[in-house]
Amino acid sequence: MKENWQLRGQELRRTIRIILSTPAGIVGAVIVVLLLACVVFAPFLAPHDPYLVSIENKLRPPSSEQWLGTDTVGRDVLSRIIYGSRYSLASGTIVVGIGIIVGSIVGLLAAYPGGRWGELIMRFTDIFLAFPTMLLAIALASTLGPSFLNSMIAISIVYWPKYARLVYGQALSIRERDYVKFAEVLKEKPVKIRMGHIFPNCSSALVVQATLDFGDAILFFAALSFVGLGAQPPAADWGAMLAFARKYMMLSWWTAVFPGIAIFVTVMGFNLLGDSLRDALDPQLRRLKEFKPIRFSWLGIPGLRKAIGK
């Protein structure tokens, strides 16, 4: 057991090293770490109270006192952006988390032991996939009623089928492996086979997909907030700030520009990190990467690297 953890630690360090070996990976990691810092230390980083209304200070342009200016009711834009990181990270975590949980359960149930019911379940999830996702999310959120929680439910309902497809596809090939057949011979329960043998082997694909989707989910949530279906005023949320800024845009460009930049940078950070993570975890690509200095990658012979030695 102890060796198992040691191995995992090694694997993790290796992954991190590969991510940090490219400029894209470094930029992505830095952005995500900065975002996490904003989320955790918001009260210390924010120079002002993000909810403090002061009408006499309204629509002040950026100055040395308030770096990003103030909005229509005199709230500090920078502080609101720093606090807004909490909504964004929460939206990404909740949506991707629910997507992984529900999608994995459905995908595993459909793939193992498989058969006609499994097919039927996947046909059903295909309906969700055959639908413009943004439209479905907006329709869902609007019928549920505008609130942060409902927007999370709406986006999650749109998201889980993607993970169900992913897990289903992975599980279909994993269930044919010898160790699964072996477990069957030992008469292990299907639940144990799904969770103990199949699921752990889907996890690296899930991690990559989740990181790539994180930015996407944040964009989704911002769009819902923008049309008034996400976080509700006076919440310090980037999408909601933009919805508010829209009406006064010609008077105060700073209220419209900076929250958008915050969304953009965050989403880009997760996209960069996701791309590097995919490179790091994809065995084929990993081999290519490590071969780079010796330029033998095109040979594509598995195990050659070990033979040559580090």
Binding site: F124, A130, A139, T143, G228, R246, M250, I263
Partner: protein, 333 residues
């Protein structure tokens, strides 16, 4: 071919049935009554009861479900609670504007993405390739509604260009034939109207289509690299044809085939994303109609929009599939 088409068509009907049922279930499952949204929270129980009776909300679910399809098959999508007009009529009014915007966005993504992709493929791993990689990263990371706001801010408020909406004033509206202003104005020879419509559609179309430019570029790049490594390209080059001729005459057509499948993906993304863009640019299309219906919990109207957009989305995908098989005869049916 015929067999494949029939199977594809049956699948389409199944998907549409699924989508409508799903929408129906969601709307029915939510205990939010449109009566309160419409009549106000102070309305008396009698008023709500009267409202429910008028719109058939007091009937059992199964009956409502049956009636929904029974009317739908006759082309009747119900009546909008907000505007009190038939939803089918509203769809006919608003749909062309949305379809025009989404189509111009797709065209724009291709017009910009394909040349960029070719350049990136030719200058592989050099700076033009890195630039296009960066542009596509920006494209998928930018919130389109924010990009729309910035475009409006710069080109309308700062530079004094054309404003939001489809035309400057009603005087520029072309005679309605298809409802697609660009086509209507061309057909009727109304040149000033065409220019005005074009100037108005460019901004929202670019805001909507920016996302796709990067995707088309990357697809075109990888497909072009793939094609350029083929023997017939090397043979053409060996015969002394210039690189330009080889690309236009040999490589372009073949490498465009895989890129065409992106059209379906882009239409899906644009028809969904069009709602926020239409709100930003006050574009009088389905998105704005949906937005206003959402605010009033106008269920028949929301159902109508969902249905129309998903039908269009499915049909576009069907057409792309057929086109794909037509362009690449190697694909078996």
């Amino acid at each position: 071919m015929a067999k494949w088409l029939i199977r594809r068509f049956l699948l389409l009907i199944f998907v549409l049935w699924g989508i409508t049922t799903l929408t129906f279930i969601i709307i029915a499952a939510v205990p939010r009554n449109p009566a309160i949204a419409m009549a106000g929270s102070q309305s008396s129980p009698e008023q709500i009861e009267k409202f429910n009776k008028r719109w058939g909300l007091d009937k059992p679910l199964a009956v409502r479900y049956y009636e929904f399809y029974a009317y739908l098959l006759q082309g009747d999508m119900g009546t909008s609670i907000r505007t009190e007009r038939p939803v089918a009529l509203e769809m006919r009014n608003f749909f062309p504007a949305t379809f025009e915007l989404a189509t111009v966005s797709v065209v724009l993504s291709f017009l910009i993405g394909v040349p960029l992709g070719i350049v990136a493929a030719l200058k592989r791993n050099k700076w033009p390739d890195q630039v296009t990689r960066f542009v596509s990263l920006i494209g998928v990371s930018t919130p389109n509604f924010w990009f729309g706001l910035i475009i409006l801010l710069v080109f309308y408020y700062l530079l004094g260009g054309v404003g939001p909406g489809r035309v400057t004033s009603a005087a520029y509206e072309p005679t309605r034939i298809t409802g697609l202003y660009l086509i209507d104005s061309l057909v009727t020879g109304n040149w000033s109207s065409f220019v005005d419509c074009l100037r108005h559609i460019i901004m929202p179309a670019f805001a909507l289509g920016f996302f796709g430019i990067g995707i088309v570029t990357r697809m075109m790049r990888s497909s072009m690299i793939d094609t350029l490594s083929k023997d017939y390209i090397k043979a053409a080059r060996a015969r002394g044809l210039s690189l330009f001729r080889v690309i236009t005459n040999h490589a372009l057509r073949n490498s465009l085939i895989p890129v065409l499948t992106v059209i379906g993906v882009l239409y899906g993304a644009y028809l969904g994303g069009v709602i926020v863009i239409e709100v930003v640019f006050s574009w009088p299309g389905l998105g704005n109609f949906a937005y206003n219906s959402i605010l009033k919990s106008d269920h028949p109207a929301i159902m109508g929009v969902v249905l129309v957009i998903s039908i269009i989305y499915s049909l576009v995908n069907l057409v792309v599939d057929v086109l794909y098989r037509y362009l690449d005869p190697r694909i078996k049916f």
